[in-house]
Amino acid sequence: MPEIFKKTFDTPAYKGSVEFNTGLYINGKWVDGSEGGFIDVINPSNGKVITRVSEGTEKDIDDAVAAAHTAFETVWGHNTPGYTRGALLYKLASLMEQYEDELAALESLDNGKTFGWAKKADLALSIGTFKYYAGWADKIQGSTIETSIDKIAYTTHEPIGVVGQIIPWNFPLMMLSWKLGPALAAGNCVILKPSEFTPLTALFTAKLAHEAGFPPGVVNVVNGYGARVGNAIAIHPNIEKVAFTGSTLVGRKILEASARTNLKDTTLELGGKSPNIIFDDCDIEQALDWTIHGIFWNHGQACCAGSRIFVHAKIYDEFLAKFTERTKQVKLGDPFDPTVYQGPQVSQQQFDRIMEYIDSGRQEGATVHLGGERFGKEGYYIKPTIFTDVKKDMKIVQEEIFGPVGVVIKFEDDDDVVRQANDTIYGLASAIFTKNIDRALRTSQRLRAGTTWINCANQLHPQIPFGGYKQSGIGRELGEYALEHYTTVKAVHINLGHTI
């Protein structure tokens, strides 16, 4: 029998308790992993074990896929009308609203982000995303197509079937909502693998999905390691679509696995090294605040983080001085302290990787202008770090660090910054700061990125698509666009009189 996790919080930000099952949620039931293994879940604020969760295996993925197929053939897919799917999604969103504080506390505990940000960003957007897609469920439509007088043709947008979804640890619940929302709205059945670092809110949400009344097998949550469970999803012959958010390295493996197995439809939302462009005619105070939010929000663990900060030569010195001053005010500490902005990085592994990047920056000759070291004695805290004097071929300029590390680069004019900004294998996001709207629109057009934020950064809405150019991914999440990746088009031709 899988274990029940109980936890009472008594913190300045939240007091209350949670209780849920830490097993695998397959076919509407909580089960142990087939090999009886467990994964320890670590609190990144102190490195201690919070609890352990059941570890899934290839066999568990097989079971989940079988359950999902049965559900798709009998109680979901074509068997349930859109308004019923919509009602269930809305019910799930309402339950998440009811347990907003509990979910935010769990997310904070597990991921290290502050309770305040978890609630106002992760929870708000996750609930909003479920409500948004609840509204789409009865609005999936094809078209009728005029051809010749003796033919009628129409398309139907059908659910793909059984979908595997692999999500990361940086926004555990939000990524879950981005994945489950459109998949379920369109009528697919899902096998979701949360990150082994942050499975807790996915398990709590599985409990809520059960309570909402999703039929068994429609939503399955299988904890596990990427190398086993993630791989099992990627190569599974009976999974017809896989959606992944994470690193470009792993995304490539998933695409390869799909190519060599059943050519499952694949969408990838991968890394970024997004430019944050400060023109000399910007509102500098606003630009500073957005830039800090752009790189340091979620401790830099955002694929769309504005990690390359380009500043016009005319205002470079002034901007850098103020940017440094403001960054010094970023308060690190206990995620449950309401005055804290930045908590720990998610894991020891992640902490080590970021520190290696900081070392490589030093070795390659960049200047550590601010930070560059651990904060405190325990937990995976890293001080907000600013590099200057960087060159374009340095690792810290080319590679995604996924931590609170920004590089500041000077530019001379519009052409120069566009060239530098596009000089990357990535193309996820970008931000532009200028009061000249003509310049903003022209620059936006020239940037090779899936999102351009004008006079803002790291803004996400359920209605607005998100995804990458170049090696930042394939496909789009959010908005109506995401539905395209969870439906398959059937064209129906009806012959009314054409004889051969």
């Binding site: 009308p81 308004y83 609005k139 039929p215 057009q445």
Partner: protein
């Protein structure tokens, strides 16, 4: 208007999804928490409960003593027969989230229970000046707390909340609908109200999905985009046949896109619209977003149609009134007009059809809601090879319907709505007899109380008979005969109307050919009368302008703004 998903549920879904659907149709959602105050940018907040303002405090120009004072905006208690349960109904005009008396009118509207012919309640009859007050409230709300001042996400939340409240109060609303309209209680609760809840939820889902286009023109110098903005203040005039459902069809798309509303319910059935107005307040809509002014068509309806500050009028009702509304719009401020009008819809039975099923649908098509349905399949044409057999089956089916008091469990059809309607329907039956049609069922008046018309079927009809050309809006069916598919299409399309049409055939090619050839806004193939909230509905020819339901209805409440932006072109002058 029979958007009965329950039919689908019974026939098509597995046991498990059946359970889901049933749960989703009744008391399913949790109630939401209170709205965050920041929704309303002006800081205006919804009142916690409606206020009933007495006439003395609000009456302008009331002449002291010499004439009767305007009717006060009070509350009347109506007793539900059988249970003895009391329903309180506000009797004032609902403006700015308050129930108020008329500013200048002494008139009242008397509501009658059509099953007993007894007086139910009297409510304030709004005047043209009351429409002015309501429009001013709606305009103020549009400019400050609704329209572009509130996000789609928040509109969606309020609409879902309203749906929750209607679901909660379904029994009470259904009882009131039955008392005022006559339709069976179960049908009011499960179909009219169930589908109204669905309609609100469907459009709640649209509220955060209103999108325009961004348009490539000259990439280096020009940029353009369109915004789908709410039209503004909408007048909505609804009929008495589906008082709650027509309210939902009108209100839901208008609110979803951000319009504000002056609603005029029918003078025959204003009670549920007033009751729903209480829920508008409880759901948390800002004052002035939805206003309800019961009034006579010739007073309130005319004032809405000719009002200079109403941006759009939507009407459901007779073709003759629709024409007047359009004329008034043309003569006043060219307000946008959408009309959902009458019909004389054909229902064709081809020889390959499953006759038993076809007879069921034909009976439903003319007898549902006692024939008071603009889509009623009032002209049935049967292929001659199966004609005799079909008539026999149809008469048997029609006889099975129990017509009586809506609170009687066995009853599937109620009385017609009013004395006026009763007299009109009977005059058509008499005309049918006089013009030589053969009566094969019904046609006899009852001696008891209530505006009852039993199912009536005429055969041996000719094209010029009044029962064949006119919309009767009662349970009176004309059945004709045809030889070929070509004849059937010709006779089906031989009408000034084009709201709906249905036919039965098991020949797939024939189905496609006939559905293409019929001139109507809705074509039912091997079924009749079913509507879905996500499928467009409206008329061709003189059955109307515009569409309700589906995404199409949103366009009726949207005004497209094209923004053209120069980001690089220098203009040389002179040219």
């Amino acid at each position: 208007m029979l958007a009965c998903r329950r039919h689908l549920r019974l026939s098509a879904l597995s046991a498990y999804t059946d359970t889901l659907t049933r749960r989703s149709a009744g008391g399913y959602f949790l109630s939401h928490g209170p709205l965050a105050p920041h929704i309303y940018s002006s800081g205006a907040r919804a009142l916690p409960a409606p206020r009933y303002v007495s006439s003395s405090s609000h009456c302008i120009n009331s002449s002291k003593g010499s004439r009767a004072a305007p009717m006060s905006a009070g509350v009347v208690e109506i007793t539900v027969p059988g249970t003895g349960k009391k329903i309180s109904v506000p009797t004032g005009l609902f403006i700015n989230n308050k129930f108020v008396p008329s500013v200048d009118s002494q008139e009242k509207i008397d509501c009658v229970n059509p099953a007993t012919e007894e007086h139910l309640a009297s409510v304030v009859a709004g005047s043209a000046k009351d429409i002015d007050v309501a429009v001013a409230a709606a305009r103020e709300a549009f400019n400050t707390t609704w329209g572009k001042n509130v996000s789609g996400f928040q509109r969606s939340k309020l609409m879902n909340k309203l749906a929750d409240l209607i679901e909660r109060d379904a029994e009470e609303l259904a009882a009131l609908e039955t008392l005022n309209n006559g339709k069976p209680f179960k049908i009011a609760r499960d179909f009219d109200i169930g589908d109204s809840v669905g309609c609100l939820r469907y459009y709640a889902g649209w509220a955060d999905k209103i999108v325009g286009q961004s348009i490539e023109i000259e990439p280096k110098t020009k940029f353009a985009y369109t915004k789908h903005e709410p039209i503004g203040v909408c007048g909505q005039i609804i009929p008495w046949n589906y008082p709650i459902q027509m309210w939902a069809w009108k209100v839901a798309p208008a609110l979803a896109v951000g319009c504000t509303i002056v609603m005029k319910p029918s003078e025959f059935t204003p009670l549920t619209a007033l009751k729903l107005s209480e829920l508008i307040v409880e759901a948390g809509f800002p004052p002035g977003v939805v206003n309800t002014v019961p009034s006579l068509g010739s007073v309130g309806g005319a004032a809405i149609s000719s009002h200079k500050d109403i941006d759009k009028v939507a009407f459901t009702g007779s073709t003759i009134t629709g024409r007047r509304i359009m004329k008034a719009a043309a003569e006043s401020n060219l307000k946008k007009v959408s009309l959902e009008l009458g019909g004389k819809s054909p229902h064709l039975i081809f020889e390959s059809a499953d006759l038993d099923q076809a007879a069921n649908w034909a009976a439903l098509g003319i007898l549902y809601n006692t024939g008071q349905d603009c889509t009623a399949g009032s002209r049935v044409y049967v292929q001659e090879s199966i004609y005799d057999k079909f008539i026999e089956t149809l008469v048997t089916k029609a006889k099975q319907l129990v017509v009586g008091d809506g609170f009687d469990e066995k009853v599937g059809g109620g009385p017609v709505v009013s004395k006026v309607q009763y007299d009109k329907v009977w005059s058509y039956i008499e005309a049918g007899k006089e013009q030589g049609a053969k009566l094969v069922l019904g046609g006899q008046k009852r001696s008891s109380k209530g505006y009852y018309v039993d199912p009536t079927i005429f055969t041996d009809i000719t094209p010029e008979m009044k029962i064949v050309t006119d919309e009767i809006f009662g349970p009176v069916l004309s059945v004709g005969k045809f030889k070929t598919e070509e004849d059937a299409i010709k006779v089906a399309n031989d009408t000034s109307y084009g709201l709906a049409a249905g036919f039965h055939s098991t020949d797939a090619n024939q189905c496609m050919r006939v559905s293409d050839a019929l001139e109507a806004g809705t074509i039912w193939v091997n079924q009749y009368g079913l509507l879905y909230n996500n499928v467009a509905f409206g008329g061709k020819k003189q059955s109307g302008i515009g569409r309700e339901l589906g995404s199409d209805a949103l366009h009726e409440y949207i005004s497209v703004k094209a923004v053209q932006w120069n980001i690089g072109e220098k203009l040389d002058w002179p040219l």
